[in-house]
């Protein structure tokens, strides 16, 4: 009897202590935009593989409209959010004191997909084309404006059609000659359709990315200026955690894809594909232990993909490729670092769009590299 009681007490103690360990973690929600998607893989890796926990956070994710993310962070209702740089400039010009502390996307993800074989993609060809765009708002519209500007064109030179987020369908129907897209996503879908002969009269496509023309500031982590001043340590720890998760995602996409499965309901997750990925992820982990360079890691990503591409065609493969393409938009020598010039370019674009008045906002205060410099592994 006493023995049983003792065991019960011990197990109670174990349970309590493990709860205690959990309770040490700080509950923190990060506000994201759009919907759960493979492109948010670093967050899933961060949660699933303990990158946030090692910095003392238990992170939950929420998806909201971009202006809502920004306002909630600015108002102190949430500590961290992901928005694009243009939102930071616009919102700061309207009294929201937020700071961009980590540049997640090093390359602006927007581009334009045009009818025409590779090499025919000259932006001047856009003249008089019917161009599809989700709507006259957000990153797509800013991206298009920048592209037209860099080609010496304006919106009057093209015929702009608002088509929602349906670029692959509309493009393959032939209703538009070109479409503003996210370079890491829709072009892959259109290419798959081309390969399947399911894209109408279209025979070939060219993609021109905004990043190939101008360096615009893109998606990154924001906090309120108040939090940055009041509790810089907290910001520092979250930045460090995210940086570590992003790095892990970039260097082991197979593992990242596996980690994303529980967060993204729309991933097919076919058992065969996942089994293959598990092998790859384990091999990659061993490879990473040899301290490879950035170029070697990039090389390994393509090699691994070549291995997978031999497998039968599947939606998993397309989603995995989206991840690889997106990684290219993240990867840099110094992750998270932001350049003033990319902010200036974005602010010029916004002014061109009539969204920003002429008085120059203090772009230097829009972002800070302080936390990138202070990253603790």
């Amino acid at each position: 009897m006493r023995k049983i009681l003792g065991r019960a007490l011990i197990s109670c103690f174990i349970i309590l202590s493990s709860v205690g360990a959990q309770a040490d973690l700080l509950q923190e929600r990060i506000l994201l935009t759009f919907i759960p998607n493979i492109q948010f893989a670093p967050f899933y890796v961060g949660i699933a593989n303990g990158h946030f926990a090692r910095q003392g956070f238990e992170v939950t994710l929420e998806h909201l409209q971009e202006p809502d993310v920004l306002d909630l962070v600015a108002a102190g209702q949430a500590d961290f959010g992901i928005v694009s740089g243009e939102q930071v400039i616009l919102a700061r010009s309207k009294g929201r004191d937020v700071v961009y502390v980590y540049e997640w996307f090093q390359e602006y993800p927007v581009g334009i997909v045009m009818v025409g074989d590779n090499g025919a993609g000259d932006l001047e060809n856009l003249t008089d084309m019917i161009v599809g765009i989700p709507g006259r708002f957000g990153a797509s519209y800013s991206g298009l404006t920048t592209l037209l500007q860099s080609a010496g064109l304006s919106e009057d030179d093209i015929e702009l059609n608002e088509i929602g987020f349906n670029a692959p369908d509309v493009f393959c129907l032939g209703a538009v000659d070109a479409a503003v897209v996210y370079v890491n996503n829709e072009p892959l879908q259109i290419r798959d359709r081309l390969a399947a002969g399911d894209c109408g009269d279209v025979r070939g496509i060219t993609v021109v990315s905004v990043a190939s023309q101008v360096d615009l500031v893109s998606n990154g982590l924001i906090v309120s200026a108040d939090l940055a001043g009041r509790d810089p340590d907290k910001v520092q720890r979250l930045v460090s955690g995210f940086n570590s998760a992003l790095k892990a995602t970039i260097s082991n996409p197979a593992n990242a894809y596996l980690a994303s499965g529980t967060f993204v309901e729309t991933l097919p997750g076919e058992p065969e594909f996942l089994a293959l990925l598990r092998e790859l992820a384990a091999e990659q982990a061993a490879f990473l232990a040899t301290n490879p360079t950035r170029e070697q890691i990039a090389q390994s990503r393509s090699e691994n993909f070549a291995l997978l591409a031999g497998a039968p065609e599947s939606d998993d493969l397309t989603q995995y490729e989206v991840l690889l393409r997106t990684i290219e938009l993240w990867d840099a020598d110094t992750l998270g670092h932001s350049d003033l010039s990319s902010w200036e370019a974005m602010s010029d674009t916004l002014r061109l769009m009539g969204l920003l008045s002429d008085d120059v906002p203090d772009l230097g205060a829009s972002f800070s590299n302080q936390f990138v410099t202070g990253i603790r592994e």
């Binding site: 202006p67 306002d71 108002a75 929201r96 708002f137 608002e162």
Partner: protein, 273 residues
């Protein structure tokens, strides 16, 4: 008319007190508005929320004047009003005529009710994007969303109103050899009017929702677009100005129907005394 009206009014001693009461009644809605404004001012003065979340009334006033002067507000207001106008005509037209037909032929109700109920129980916000695909991103889709949302209350009220026409009065009209048109014009119409007008009050306020839902889905123009666009530009005062403009439309249309009641249903007012 005046003499008899006077005669009935003239209950000694009650007139002045009734007038005072009437004045108070006219003022009381204004009082609640003033209270609301005060509360708003209080919240902003106490800085419970930052100004970009709840801007002070003065900032909203400024944004209103600015939007008025730049023509931005009137332009989008015009678009929304036009969509609402045609949507109301379409929705009311179909609602009233099908409602009348159903009231006259109960068989029709058995046939149509599953479709109508299904139509009504499906939230318009959910299928508004489909309407845009079917009717295009121009004004037509918004006219359709307005018509759809306006249709049901006018339908139901028409059915209820026409069915409620007194069977004894129908007998009377028959005994007087009234033609179908006379029965409609002299009996059904005036008898149904109070209920139909009550339904119209619901319909006109819903019409604003219909148009704005349509405008939310397809960006481009109208007050629904202006709200989204102001939101995307972090212009909270303009968001509030636009929302209040929608409120103003709904209130004006509602008041217009009240005015119609006042004119057309004078007998009810007299009868209530």
């Amino acid at each position: 008319m005046a003499e008899v009206g006077e005669k009935i009014d003239a209950k000694p001693g009650s007139r002045s007190s009734r007038n005072a009461l009437l004045q108070l009644r006219q003022l009381s809605p204004l009082l609640s508005l003033v209270a609301l404004l005060l509360l708003w001012q209080l919240i902003t003065s106490a800085q419970i929320y930052p100004a970009f979340i709840v801007p002070p009334p003065a900032a909203v006033g400024e944004a209103f004047i600015e939007a008025l002067q730049s023509g931005l507000l009137l332009k989008h207001l015009g678009v929304t009003l036009e969509e609402m106008f045609f949507g109301l005509i379409l929705g009311l037209g179909i609602g009233l005529s099908i409602g009348y037909a159903i009231a006259k032929a109960p068989m029709l109700e058995y046939t149509l009710s599953p479709v109508i109920v299904a139509f009504q129980s499906t939230p318009i916000v959910a299928y508004a994007p489909l309407l845009v695909i079917w009717f295009g991103s121009g004004p037509t889709s918004k006219i359709v969303t307005t018509a759809v949302i306006v249709f049901f209350p006018s339908l139901v009220n028409t059915i209820v109103a026409v069915r409620a026409v007194s069977p004894n009065l129908r007998d009377l009209m028959t005994s007087l050899n009234a033609t179908p048109w006379q029965s409609f014009r002299q009996l059904e119409l005036p008898s149904a009017l109070p209920v139909v007008l009550a339904g119209l009050k619901t319909s006109v306020t819903l019409a604003v929702i219909g148009a704005v839902v349509g405008e939310f889905v397809t960006q481009g123009s109208g007050l629904g677009y202006l709200v989204t666009s102001a939101r995307n530009q972090y212009d909270t005062p303009l968001v509030i100005v636009t929302v209040l403009t929608m409120t103003a439309i709904a209130l004006s249309l509602y008041s217009f129907v009240v005015l119609l009641e006042w004119r057309w249903l004078a007998w009810r007012r007299r009868s209530k005394r």
